[in-house]
């Protein structure tokens, strides 16, 4: 079979699988469609608005606005480029070495090179769709802010982006080919996650020391400070990197300089083609070797008796026996799965960045001296950010928990414990775990802002209530809409139920904060209570807040428990 014939067959297989998946969803097709459209509109609409505001602001700055914007765009493209290499690396490792599908395909009369290339195409598609959705608002708002309406510009965007997506995929593939030939892929997956974390923390430190926060603190008028911003953003303009070529190509396209745009497009296309040729050279001798390596190594070695399971079991000695068994099992599996704790580590990295920035914000100084409006905004933003982190935790980790029981459900299903106990255990466990992460975060961030005791109290109250509500929402929806066919938590979280959990979580957090805003305002501007409307709003917001919290705990849990009890496995 020729490569083209195999690729076409493989594409038809994937298309058929996707088609069947959609057909399988036909019962709730409109719900899936509505949620998908909502997310798309939020991402594209929200992204375009944010970028347009930033770009319009920059374009109004006569002297440095334009170059600052160019460098900012290249910085964003560099970030995309690094993320694409990382995501291709992870996707190639999981889909090309560890997946069960490859085990089947390897048994078929298919050349290893062909199989590797088919998986490379799959990896490009999987890793690029997010980039396409995220970069669409960037290019759209860039064009709008510079008043470019000619179709040629957008044609150049497509011509430049396609090879830009192939290059990181081939870099990721070459890396996986070379490294898996000597290292077991599972260990490499761990290594990749640790590297990503180190990169994230490194970026945070860089941002901390050279960041815009420093400039904003002292104003932007001085030439030396402007130079510092430009130098910082200049990091994104490394001439040997394809992200820089893409940036320059876009700039040339915008200036109608088609020859230069064609030059950068050629540079990107030729590099992409070279990347594919290198992959082809290496796939022949290395892919099969690496794939075999994955099957003969990894976690097969004999482990120390007990280990993690015994450790968690001892720590949780105070829990009733069956509950302890369920929690110990969950904790053990969580820490033994790098895919899971890797996500948590990356989240911790993001928290680190957030805290580093908060430090700068507190340095803007004298939080208490700011006008009450900004004090309210910053306080509410802080509480909102903590709640948002909590919602990521519940959506990514709590929602998939019951789905992950899926095919193993018969194990607990056969135990002499009430079926709903599992749901309750997941709820209480997730509430305590999320509280353990976010309560110190809320305290620390309020302390960094040198906030009033009222803000401390409000942060605590919000985290306490929202952690209950978000845990109930994630567990309740997880019990109502489980996906037992998937054993990858990320894919479960990215599915319809997970997306619905994320959207409802954001709406819930937004409503909670909106109901709390009058409290903060009344505290910071006590005389505002004199106004009749303000007093009415304040009085009405308290019971509304309480009702919302109770509703968010009781309703999702009641629905989830009822459905779980009736669930057939």
């Amino acid at each position: 079979m020729s490569f083209a014939a195999f690729l076409s067959l493989f594409a038809r297989l994937k298309w058929r699988q996707a088609n069947n998946l959609i057909l399988g969803l036909r019962r709730h097709l409109w719900v899936h469609f509505a949620i998908g459209m909502l997310v798309l509109i939020m991402l594209v609409g929200g992204g375009t608005t944010v970028f347009t505001i930033i770009f319009n602001f920059l374009m109004k700055q006569d002297v440095f606005g334009r170059p600052l914007m160019d460098r900012l765009v290249r910085m964003v493209l560099l970030a995309f480029f690094s993320m694409l290499i990382f995501s291709n690396l992870i996707i190639m490792l999981t889909t090309t070495y560890i997946s069960r599908e490859v085990e089947f395909l390897m048994s078929q009369p298919i050349r290893h090179r062909y199989l590797f290339f088919a998986k490379l195409v799959e990896s490009i598609v999987y890793s690029s769709w997010a980039f396409v959705i995220l970069s669409f608002p960037l290019f759209l708002s860039m064009g709008r802010s510079r008043e470019i309406y000619e179709w040629q510009y957008y044609a150049w965007v497509v011509m430049l982006i396609v090879p830009f997506l192939i290059i990181p995929a081939s870099i990721g593939s070459v890396l996986t080919l070379v490294i898996t030939a000597w290292f077991p892929p599972r260990r490499m997956l761990r290594l990749a996650i640790v590297l990503a974390l180190v990169g994230l923390v490194g970026a945070a430190l860089l941002q901390r020391f050279y960041g815009l926060a420093h400039i904003l603190r002292y104003g932007t008028g001085q030439p030396s400070e402007l130079g510092q911003v430009m130098r910082f953003l200049g990091i994104g303009d490394i001439p040997i990197l394809p992200s820089s070529w893409l940036g320059r190509g876009l700039l040339a396209a915008e200036a109608h300089n088609h020859h230069v745009a064609a030059l950068w497009a050629s540079a990107l296309w030729s590099t992409a083609a070279m990347g594919l040729v290198v992959c082809d050279w290496l796939a022949g001798p290395l892919y099969y070797h690496g794939w075999c390596n994955a099957r003969t190594s990894g976690s097969a070695r004999r482990r120390r008796a007990g280990g993690l399971y015994v450790l968690f079991d001892r720590i949780l000695f105070w829990l009733p026996r069956s509950v302890r068994a369920m929690v110990t099992k969950d904790l053990t599996i969580f820490w033994r799965d790098p895919g899971q704790w890797g996500q948590l580590m990356i989240l911790c990295g993001l928290l680190f960045i957030y805290m580093a920035n908060l430090r700068s914000a507190s340095g803007v100084g004298e939080f208490r001296k700011l006008i009450p409006f900004w004090q309210s905004i910053i306080s509410m933003f802080n509480i909102g950010a903590t709640s948002f982190v909590l919602s990521i935790l519940t959506t990514r980790f709590v929602y998939p928990m019951l789905s992950l029981e899926g095919r193993q459900q018969w194990v607990i299903g056969l135990a002499p414990v009430p079926r709903t106990r599992l749901v309750w255990v997941k709820f209480i466990f997730s509430w305590l775990a999320s509280l353990a992460v976010t309560l110190p975060l809320a305290l620390l961030s309020a302390w960094m802002l040198k906030a009033e005791y009222f803000i401390y109290g409000l942060s605590m109250l919000t985290v306490l209530a929202v952690s209950l509500g978000l845990s109930a929402l994630a567990v309740g929806l997880g019990a109502s809409m489980p996906n037992f066919n998937e054993d990858n938590p990320s894919r479960i979280a990215n599915g319809v139920g997970g997306t619905l959990t994320a959207i409802l979580s954001l709406i819930y957090i937004g409503t909670t904060l909106a109901l709390e805003t009058p409290w903060v305002h009344a505290f910071l501007v006590p005389q505002s209570i004199d106004s009749g409307t303000m007093r009415l709003v304040l009085i009405a917001s308290i019971p509304a807040w309480a009702v919302l919290q109770l509703f968010m705990i009781i309703v999702p849990m009641a629905i989830g428990l009822k459905r779980w009890k009736r669930m057939e496995f």
Binding site: S299, A305, A325, T328, K329, D337, W410, A415, P416, E568
Partner: protein, 272 residues
């Protein structure tokens, strides 16, 4: 003969299983299951006694696994009842489940637990004290020759090893009823022999075995009685000799089974 098996539960139902040989331990009455209007199991009436090894036979898609899932509470019957050791699996599920050991045909297990972790987890779910767990762990892992893999992750176990691990955990709480779905698939000849001897010994000691299988030679060797299900209906219930008598044929179980199911194909009105 009185059969006893004490379990150290930490629940409110700590007591002994006691069943006289011959008293029904599995009893289904007019058990039905429909999936989207399709009848998977139709009016199933079964009564299986303590100490009996009952083999449930049928072609693919006949309703065997659906019946097993209803017996174990993993599926809700559309109508009818299933009573295990005196407890209705729907109205008193925890009491009934405490008396069931289940070995599924495709044992999906927690891949990131080791064999030892999994054994401890099940032991804790069933409330078995740790000292007893340790004794049982040593005994069953030795019996099934799993000891060298005791601390390996289950993801590295072969199908046969998983099957043996599930056998070990299904027996640890000394259930009154052992429900086994396709026990011999993926097992090596030594393990097949061990499992056959074990099942026979368990039945002889008073435990009820409900065995669903396609391996008719195993059924012939172990079964006290057989039930043949086809398209959701129970075609035959009795001993193999009774089947020979009913069909007025000699021969092994395979020939009788094929004859029975083929005749049912040519007898759609359900005259059998």
């Amino acid at each position: 003969m009185l059969v006893r098996g004490r379990i150290g539960f930490d629940y409110d139902y700590e007591h002994e299983h006691e069943h006289d040989l011959g008293t029904p331990v599995i009893q289904t009455t007019k058990l039905n299951k429909n999936f989207d209007g399709k009848h998977a199991v139709i009016d199933l009436d079964l009564s299986i006694a303590a100490g009996e090894c009952f083999c449930f036979l049928g072609p693919n898609g006949a309703g065997k696994t659906t019946t097993i899932k209803m017996l174990t509470g993993l599926l809700q019957p559309t109508s009818g009842t299933a009573v295990i050791a005196g407890f209705d699996i729907q109205s008193e599920p925890t009491r009934a489940k405490a008396r069931i050991g289940y070995i599924p045909d495709r044992p999906y297990l927690y891949e990131k637990l080791s064999g030892r972790d999994y054994f401890t987890f099940i032991g804790d779910l069933f409330g078995i004290d740790r000292a007893k767990q340790k004794r049982l762990l040593d005994h069953y892992f030795e019996l099934f020759r799993l000891t060298p893999a005791i601390d390996q992750f289950i993801e590295n176990y072969s199908h046969g090893m998983r099957q043996k691990l599930v056998f070990a955990t299904a027996l640890m709480h000394e259930p009154s009823v052992l429900v086994v779905d396709e026990p011999m698939v993926g097992l090596d000849p030594q393990s097949v022999r061990t499992i056959k001897k074990l099942l026979r010994a368990e039945a002889d000691s008073g435990r009820t075995i409900f065995l669903s299988t396609h391996t008719l030679s195993v059924a012939e060797e172990l079964a006290d009685r057989i039930g043949v299900i086809h398209k959701g209906k129970l075609l035959f219930l009795g001993t193999i000799d009774e089947l020979r008598h009913n069909l007025a044929r000699e021969g092994n179980l395979e020939e009788l089974f094929l004859l029975l199911t083929e005749e049912d194909e040519s007898n759609p009105e359900g005259l059998w």
